[in-house]
């Protein structure tokens, strides 16, 4: 790990924070506005089931440390989730205040308030010992992203020995390398990694299957948790996609977060309509692109990105083009064909069909494809007995257990690419399932 490989923190003018933090008075007033619902719907709506009214009332009572641990007990990545969670469709979306024609409680910002206070104290560093003492079982977590971190922390709390294997220079997965800078800074992700480490989790930089063999892991560990994410972006599969002005969205985001020198075109074309496409489009604007054009083969209505992400991108000056599918990357241009929407496909969305003779070229000097992440499970093909379905690892949903009883899995490689909080929930569920399986066996 060298200094050069550390993620870069951009200047605040280029990537200011999307939402400013709450100050003490504002946090107190907002915390007091919470009704303290019983069996609250916000808690049910959170994939990790953070006891939201409890942590909010602890802010109101002046017990900030207790508030932070209420969050962390349910979600070890409470800091990053407070910044990146799509709260509109989760906790805040289910707030009863909606039924009362009132603004929902700002749960995300209150959580961030408690978390930032916690990490101010944590800077000094302390270690967290398992309450029930150490156990002899050893667990390997493959991949260093949110799912593995959550699984590892939960297992450590129960006294299991845990090692996280990750092939990147720094752990944290997409939290460190893949989330847009204006939402989450790499330093925040690394503080969470440090907290997981403070629980006694060991981190090893090694690519499983290359520098450490799966056979060895299988032999050395009682259980293995697979949280490898989705790997690289899916290829476009069109002529010209190997041109040097083409860079896939995840690579582009990882690149600008880790390098001071980022080349961005004057006119940038982004291909795709998901949240990652919009993250890349916004970043391109902020890095200096004069024009950023998002092309999507369906319409605004079918676009999978969250509505607030779409609204934000428009504010950033990103321009949108609907019903256009790329057919070839040319020299300083992309050739598209117009589409029209046909019958609904398996996903329930209307399938785009090319309109013959409608080809057109769009001049640009940079192309960022973000058309979905490939579900590369090369590693898992090597692990015998694990069933893969549609490119994803098949698991028993409540436990995260794969078809091999010693292997568990969670995060994007299981759910196909959702939010950080979903990965944390997967990792935590798997850890608790492992703990329960051992308790059932040994008591």
């Amino acid at each position: 790990m060298t200094a050069a490989s550390l993620p870069v923190v951009r200047n605040l003018e280029q990537f200011p924070e999307l939402h400013p933090p709450l100050d003490t008075q504002a946090a107190l007033a907002e915390a007091n506005r919470c009704l303290y619902c019983y069996e609250a719907p916000c808690t049910a709506a959170c994939p990790t089931h953070i006891d939201v009214p409890r942590f909010i009332k602890k802010i109101a009572s002046g017990n900030l440390r207790g508030s932070a641990w209420t969050i962390l007990d349910a979600n070890i990545l409470g800091l990053s989730c407070s910044r990146v969670c799509p709260v509109d469709v989760l906790c805040e979306g289910s707030c009863v205040m909606h039924s009362y024609n009132q603004k929902p409680i700002e749960i995300g910002r209150l959580q961030r308030y408690a978390m930032e206070d916690f990490y101010r104290i944590f800077e000094g560093g302390f270690s967290v010992a398992p309450a029930g003492g150490e156990r002899k079982e050893r667990v390997a977590c493959i991949g260093g992203g949110p799912a593995s971190l959550a699984c590892a922390a939960e297992l450590r709390r129960h006294g299991y020995a845990v090692t996280v294997f990750d092939d990147r220079p720094l752990p944290g997965g997409l939290n460190t390398y893949g989330v847009a800078e204006y939402k989450l800074r790499p330093s925040d992700s690394l503080r969470e990694v440090a907290l997981v480490a403070a629980h006694g989790v060991e981190f090893r930089k090694a690519e499983v299957g290359v520098s450490v063999s799966l056979d060895d892991l299988d032999k050395d560990y009682d259980f293995l948790f697979v949280g490898v994410g989705l790997g690289a972006m899916e290829r476009l599969g069109i002529p010209g996609e190997d041109r040097s002005e083409v860079i896939d969205a995840l690579q582009f985001i990882a690149h600008y977060k880790t390098s001071h020198e980022v080349r961005v075109g004057r006119v940038v074309v982004v291909l795709g309509g998901g949240n990652t496409a919009l993250d890349a489009a916004n970043a391109a604007r902020r890095l200096g692109a004069e024009e950023v054009h998002v092309f999507y083969r369906r319409t605004e209505k079918e676009m999978p990105a969250f509505p607030f992400e779409y609204e934000h991108a428009k504010v950033e000056g990103v321009q949108f083009h609907w019903l256009a599918q790329p057919v070839e990357v040319l020299d300083r241009a992309v050739k598209f064909v117009s589409t029209r929407l046909g019958a609904a496909d398996a996903s329930g969305r209307r399938k785009p069909e090319p309109v013959p003779g409608s080809e057109f070229a769009f001049v640009c000097d940079m192309v960022i494809p973000a058309v979905g992440q490939a579900r590369l499970m090369k590693l898992l093909h090597e692990t015998r007995g694990i069933q893969i379905q549609g490119g994803l690892i098949a698991v028993d949903r409540p436990s995260g257990q794969t078809t091999n009883p010693r292997y568990y899995a969670g995060g994007d490689c299981v759910n196909g690419g959702r939010e950080v909080v979903d990965a944390v929930a997967d990792g935590k569920r798997a850890a608790l399932a492992i703990v329960q399986s051992q308790e059932a066996r040994h008591g």
Partner: protein, 437 residues
């Protein structure tokens, strides 16, 4: 338009019943004149007596749920300015504001001649009335004044008599709530010849303790002392004590947590002729009187009351002993499912704090939740409608009609307490047991 003109105890005339209570807002003539300009009908001057020395750090408060100063506590003593300065300023105020009421609050050592002298001097300065401070609970009481007088019926009666020997203007006795039975002091004042009562003075209090220094607030160089509690928090106590002293039949000036016209109307419904305000004016300034006048006038117009006398004391007959309440009057809680927001506060309140008659059929807490992707997942957007499984239901047969669910419900008009026919004739405990027979 309602007429708010007030005549208290036959001699204190003012354009409206809103007086500033004796305290920091009535410390000097310049303040009182500004208060009159803002609309106050009268002012009870900051208690006059031999000047004292105050400490630095004098107030502390209780905040509640993010709101400041639900209750205020003070350890300030009476005026720290010479008697002649206060009296000169009273004369100046009365010269400039002849239609407004200036009442001199007085506290001197318990000597007949001393009381005679301060009464004469105050009236000579132009005071429209006198309020004898038998209530101040801190500091002065350690020197045999204030509540040290007001806690002993004989002393209260005796000093009232001394004052009445020479007074030409109405004499009000300001009562302390820091007694077992306030009626005994009210009766003593009546025996002494008082023309009216002011109630209540502040309540003995320690508002809080600093968890780092272990020193109660307010902190005076590492030590504190009990103070007098006032502000919105004390209003229910004040209302009760005002009701208690109504039996004396003397005009009452109501004091205690009054910060708006609604509070004032409530004190008047319990018999008060005027009301006094201090904490709210300390919090927001004299300007608050504008809405007190406006709000009370509008309410009186709506109710068809031309003067305060038209409704004064109307709530008194509606307060009785518990034994006279109807045991067969039955109400039950009803929840408007269209208004319910599903917070389930009524459910947990009834279950833990009342009679276990509200039920929630509930949801499975173990379900796996994932972030919905709006256009990929079939998201059931509730569109602001409460899921039916979160709406509690009341077992009316088991409901005792305690009101708790209605009190905790955050939504106006969602829970109502509705009368149901108990099928039995009205019967009180007194009737049932023959207690009144």
């Amino acid at each position: 338009m309602a007429d708010l003109t007030t005549v208290f105890a036959g001699g204190i005339r003012c354009p409206n019943p809103f007086w500033l209570a004796s305290g920091p807002p009535t410390n000097c003539g310049e303040q009182v004149m500004r208060a009159f300009d803002a609309g106050w009908g009268g002012a009870v001057w900051k208690t006059i007596g031999e000047p004292i020395v105050n400490v630095s750090s004098r107030y502390s408060s209780v905040d509640w749920n993010g709101q400041r100063m639900m209750g205020l506590n003070n350890i300030e003593l009476i005026t720290d300015r010479p008697i002649e300065t206060n009296l000169r300023e009273i004369a100046e105020v009365k010269k400039r504001y002849p239609k407004h009421a200036v009442i001199a609050s007085l506290m001197v050592e318990s000597k007949r001649e001393t009381w005679h002298e301060i009464v004469k001097r105050s009236e000579d300065a132009g005071a429209d009335g006198l309020e004898l401070n038998f209530g101040c609970p801190h500091g002065m009481s350690e020197r045999g004044m204030g509540s040290a007088v007001g806690q002993v019926p004989e002393y209260s009666c005796m000093i009232t008599e001394w004052v009445k020997e020479v007074a030409r203007t109405p004499v009000l006795i300001k009562l302390t709530p820091n007694v077992t039975d306030i009626r005994s002091i009210a009766r003593a004042a009546q025996r002494g010849g008082a023309d009216g009562l002011s109630a209540i003075n502040t309540i003995n209090s320690i508002t809080g303790i600093d968890l780092d220094t272990f020193t109660p607030r307010p902190n005076v160089g590492g030590l504190s002392s009990h103070g007098g509690y006032c502000g919105p928090a004390v209003k229910p106590i004040a209302l009760h004590l005002v009701q208690q002293i109504a039996e004396a039949g003397l005009p009452v000036s109501g004091i205690g947590g009054i910060s708006g016209w609604r509070d004032a109307a409530e004190f008047m419904l319990l018999g008060c002729t005027s009301v006094q305000v201090c904490t709210a004016a300390m919090h927001y300034g004299y300007r608050i009187v504008e809405d007190m006048i406006d709000g009370l006038s509008t309410w009186m117009d709506e109710k068809g009351f031309a003067t305060i006398e038209d409704f004064r004391g109307r709530a008194l007959p509606k307060i009785t002993d518990w034994k006279n309440l109807d045991l067969n009057y039955k109400i039950v809680a009803r929840i408007d499912t269209g208004k319910c927001i599903g917070c389930e506060l009524c459910y947990i309140a009834c279950w833990d704090g009342a009679h276990q008659c509200i039920h929630v059929d509930g949801v499975d807490g173990n379900q796996i939740t994932v972030t919905p992707i709006a256009k990929l997942d079939s998201v059931q957007n509730s569109n602001g409608h409460t899921p039916p499984e979160r709406i509690p239901r009341v077992d009316e047969a088991a409901c005792v009609g305690c009101n708790l669910c209605w009190l905790v419900c955050p939504v106006e008009g969602c829970i109502t307490m509705e009368r149901v026919d108990s099928g039995k004739p009205s019967e009180s405990w007194a009737q049932r047991t023959g207690a009144n027979a």
